[in-house]
């Protein structure tokens, strides 16, 4: 391992608060030259906040940042970039309508006689990308390439711009194993060039594969920094969640609901989105769906809910065929669906918590049969209390709530419709630890009440905790099913990995 004791980036006693919460509490973080440093923690632990403080997206309340030994105070991400700190996000923050070369050189295009020298720019772009083993038509729009390629373009841009520190914020979330491998080759090469790399991910395997050191945050505080080689998985998880993993493992799958499957999807799929699959769900069953992002998890949920109409196969409820051609049709069959992308597909930001909660119920009743204000208030208060939604009052616009509380409000929206079949896509993503636990508990409760649930999650331990069965997806197809005692974190990881290895070979 090539390390230098010299820190390229040091963050000392960083403080950052938001109204009502302390997001970072005197956090120290040191990054060495030529190392890959994993920054870990559960959702809401403060990783994003720390990154945003480092890149100037947030202004910190206290503490100092040293880059190459000199104190810096980036005004914004662009300023940080100029200083040498580049960031690549999970959702590629490039412009899909511009060409690859323009994306790489936006704001610093080579010029001749005051005009952008497009040929030189394209040549330089090709040169730059060849360092990353990419041979692309750089004049084509970025949008015409896969997310993985876009990700690499983003890295190339960030490194070329800043060249000292590279922050990778969940870059692998939507990549397949092959693409991850390519990305890691690039990261190693950059490391060899002496860059300091901060790596944020949910995939622990990847942490061990690539990181030199690991820093763990929890509840806005620094838990500790360790050499990756000296920290075993269990200890790491203990650092992250503050308790032994074993305690989380539930015996839910022991009492697998018996009886005939109530919901039966046969050869169900949609061309270009998800390969046809068979899926049966019983009453009182939680079917977990595991797989990497982009493996077809969300697509499965969408096709089940009618958000995208299935073009093959049949759906039956209690042996009676049903047509799930639209969300409205699905809702009539007492389906509910909490989408993954809360902001764009879940909350209706400017409307109040109350209105967000009654929305689906109202939509099902039709506009001519309004729910009385008193009933709305009752429902809202009921679920605000039942799910412990933290809001000053039910009339607050939902966009002002924290992620976890938004998620609970959307859950409430569906619970208010008294669904019998509930699909949850990443119900715990991006929410704080407390809310996380509550939602996991809620899933349990709903299952015990006899609801059928499909839960998609990237958090494998979580799946293990509440699933009665787990479906593993890869490449937009259902590839494995685990039940009973086979539902363990290792088994799931293995299933995903095996699938991926098979693909890689």
């Amino acid at each position: 391992m090539q390390t230098s004791s010299e820190n390229i980036l040091s963050a000392v006693r960083i403080d950052k608060g938001f109204p009502g919460t302390k997001a970072l509490d005197k956090v120290d973080f040191h990054l060495r030259r030529g190392e890959v440093h994993a920054l870990l923690g559960e959702n809401g632990a403060g990783k994003s906040t720390l990154i945003k403080c480092l890149t100037g997206a947030y202004h910190r309340d206290g503490g100092s940042i040293l880059l190459d030994g000199t104190e810096v105070d980036p005004r914004d991400t662009f300023d940080a970039q100029r200083l040498g700190i580049g960031t690549v996000y999970q959702e590629v923050n490039l412009l899909p309508n511009l060409s690859v070369a323009e994306n790489l050189f936006l704001g610093r295009q080579p010029r001749r006689f005051g005009m952008v020298d497009i040929r030189a720019m394209n040549r330089k772009a090709r040169e730059l990308l060849s360092q990353y083993e990419l041979e692309l038509d750089v004049t084509r729009a970025l949008a015409s390439y896969s997310v993985a390629i876009q990700q690499v373009v983003a890295i190339a841009r960030a490194v070329d711009l800043s060249g000292k520190v590279l922050i990778l914020d969940e870059p692998t979330a939507s990549l397949d194993a092959h693409e991850v491998a390519m990305l890691f080759r690039i990261v190693r090469r950059l490391k060899a060039r002496g860059l300091g790399i901060i790596f944020i991910t949910h995939f622990l395997e990847q942490v061990y594969e690539i990181s030199d050191r690991i820093t763990v945050l929890r509840n806005g505080r620094l838990v500790g920094t360790r050499d990756a080689a000296d920290l075993d998985r269990r200890d790491l998880i203990a650092m992250m969640i503050g308790r032994e993993l074993a305690a989380e493992i539930h015996s839910a799958h022991a009492n697998t609901a018996g009886g005939e499957p109530r919901y039966r999807f046969t050869n169900y799929g949609r061309r270009g989105r998800i390969e046809p699959f068979d899926l049966n769900v019983r009453v009182g069953e939680v079917v977990g769906i595991a797989g990497l992002l982009g493996s077809g998890r969300t697509e499965t949920a969408e096709v089940l809910f009618g958000a995208h109409r299935a073009d093959s196969g049949t759906a039956e409820i209690d042996g009676r065929p049903v047509e799930l051609s639209s969300p409205r049709a699905a809702i009539r069959q007492k389906f509910g669906f909490c989408p993954e992308d809360r902001k764009t597909a879940g909350i209706v930001g400017d409307l109040s918590v109350r209105e967000n909660i009654v929305l689906a119920l109202q939509a099902r009743r039709g506009w001519t049969r309004p729910i009385s204000r008193a009933e709305q208030n009752r429902l809202a208060d009921l679920y605000i209390r039942a799910l412990d939604i933290r809001t000053a009052d039910r009339e607050k616009p939902i966009r002002l709530l924290s992620g976890g509380n938004q998620q609970k409000a959307i859950l409430a929206r569906w619970l208010a419709t008294e669904p019998e079949f509930l699909i949850l896509d990443e119900p715990t993503r991006g929410i704080d630890v407390g809310a996380h636990a509550e939602i996991v508990r809620l899933i349990e409760t709903l299952r015990e009440k006899g609801m059928s649930l499909i839960v998609i999650s990237s958090e494998i331990e979580e799946l293990v905790a509440y699933s009665t069965r787990v479906i593993v997806l890869r490449d937009r197809a259902h590839v494995a099913e685990l039940d009973g005692d086979r539902i363990t974190a290792d088994q799931i990881v293995e299933a995903i990995a095996a699938a991926n290895e098979r693909r890689a070979s």
């Binding site: 994003s48 958000a307 879940g346 409307l351 929305l359 689906a360 939509a363 309004p370």
Partner: protein
């Protein structure tokens, strides 16, 4: 109940203040402005004129509010007014009964709305361009019906809608008051208002929650078309003739302004019919005020522009933040309050 009244008042406060300021300014330049008297059994005075003359813009603004709440815009309303005025005139002159005429005219307005709605909701064309088509072609259609001339009529029933009076108020005022209240009740006493706001804020999330978005979008444009039809009937009845060239010319811009002055965001979402009605009345008050003031007509546009810019800047989110003390509770935009992660 009182809290509802209070929040309602709070919502309308900026518009009420602006209206009061405009009215005060006019009565300073023209002293008899606030006089009201009864003449021929009807109220008579400049204030009544404002309400009466404002009728077309008020009506257009009612429909436009709902369209804008869905994050759309309807540029065609002026042209639809012309079409419907022409249809009404040609039907009444060709001997149809008043009821038939009105029904057919309203149906034509609805048809125009359906056309716009289909372009927006089904073909997914941007509202501004989708409605531009009818804006360009619509006036031609209206002229096609009247063959370019002013089609006059003498049917007393239709004329009554334009210049008759009921309970002391001019009929157009009665019409928009009743229609405005009906629409307000329709959207607020049913779930329509909330569902429309939900679509305007987040169409995808609404669809996923089971809201029937295409139908509601079409319905919004249909309402707008219906409003334009009523406005067209009033405009035609007012002058006892359909003027395909001038009826509703550029009124779509006034209607959009009215909605914005009424505080509904062009980005969709929260809307208030009442506030838009006040917005339209404010704009009409400015127009009437200019006429009463005796300024030479070449200053009309500049005065109007200056007042509107002033009102809009006062309402802009940035200005509101900078002068938070001026804003009213519950509606103040809060960009400072960052979303806690």
């Amino acid at each position: 109940m009182t809290t509802i009244v209070r929040t309602y008042l709070a919502r309308l406060l900026p518009q009420l203040i602006a209206l009061a300021a405009v009215l005060a300014a006019i009565s300073m330049t023209f002293s008899g402005f606030l006089n009201l008297e009864i003449q021929n059994g009807r109220l008579y005075g400049s204030l009544i004129d404002i309400l009466n003359r404002g009728a077309p813009v008020v009506l257009l603004a009612i429909g436009m509010t709902v369209v804008i709440a869905t994050k759309g815009i309807d540029l065609s309303v002026g042209a639809v007014m012309a079409i419907c005025g022409a249809v009404a005139a040609s039907f009444i002159t060709s001997g149809h009964s008043l009821a038939e005429t009105l029904l057919v005219t309203l149906a034509v307005g609805i048809l125009c709305g359906i056309w716009n709605g289909i372009l927006v909701a089904i073909l997914d064309i941007q509202p501004i361009i989708a409605t531009l088509v009818l804006m360009v072609a619509g006036r031609g259609i209206a002229q096609l019906i009247t063959e370019g001339a002013i089609l006059t009529f003498n049917e007393p029933g239709l004329i009554f809608i334009g210049s008759g009076s009921f309970a002391g108020l001019p009929m157009p005022v009665i019409v928009w008051l009743v229609f405005g209240i009906l629409v307000a009740l329709l959207v607020r006493r049913t779930a329509l208002g909330m569902l429309i706001e939900a679509i305007g804020v987040n169409r995808q999330a609404s669809t996923l929650s089971g809201v029937f978005t295409p139908v509601l979008l079409v319905a919004a444009y249909v309402l707008s078309g219906l409003c334009a039809a009523i406005a067209g009937i009033i405009a035609a009845a007012d002058i006892r003739g359909a003027d395909a060239n001038n009826a509703g010319l550029w009124l779509e811009l006034d209607a959009i302004l009215a909605v914005v002055v009424g505080g509904t965001s062009l980005l969709g979402g929260r809307f208030s019919i009442a506030a838009s009605v006040f917005g339209a009345i404010i704009i009409q008050a400015i127009n009437t005020g200019i006429l009463l003031s005796g300024f030479p007509p070449e200053f009309n546009l500049i005065i109007k522009a200056a007042i509107i810019v002033f009102i809009l800047v006062l309402q802009s989110p940035r200005f509101r933040t900078a002068f938070a003390f001026l804003t009213i509770p519950g509606r103040a935009a809060k960009p400072t309050e960052r979303e806690a992660k």
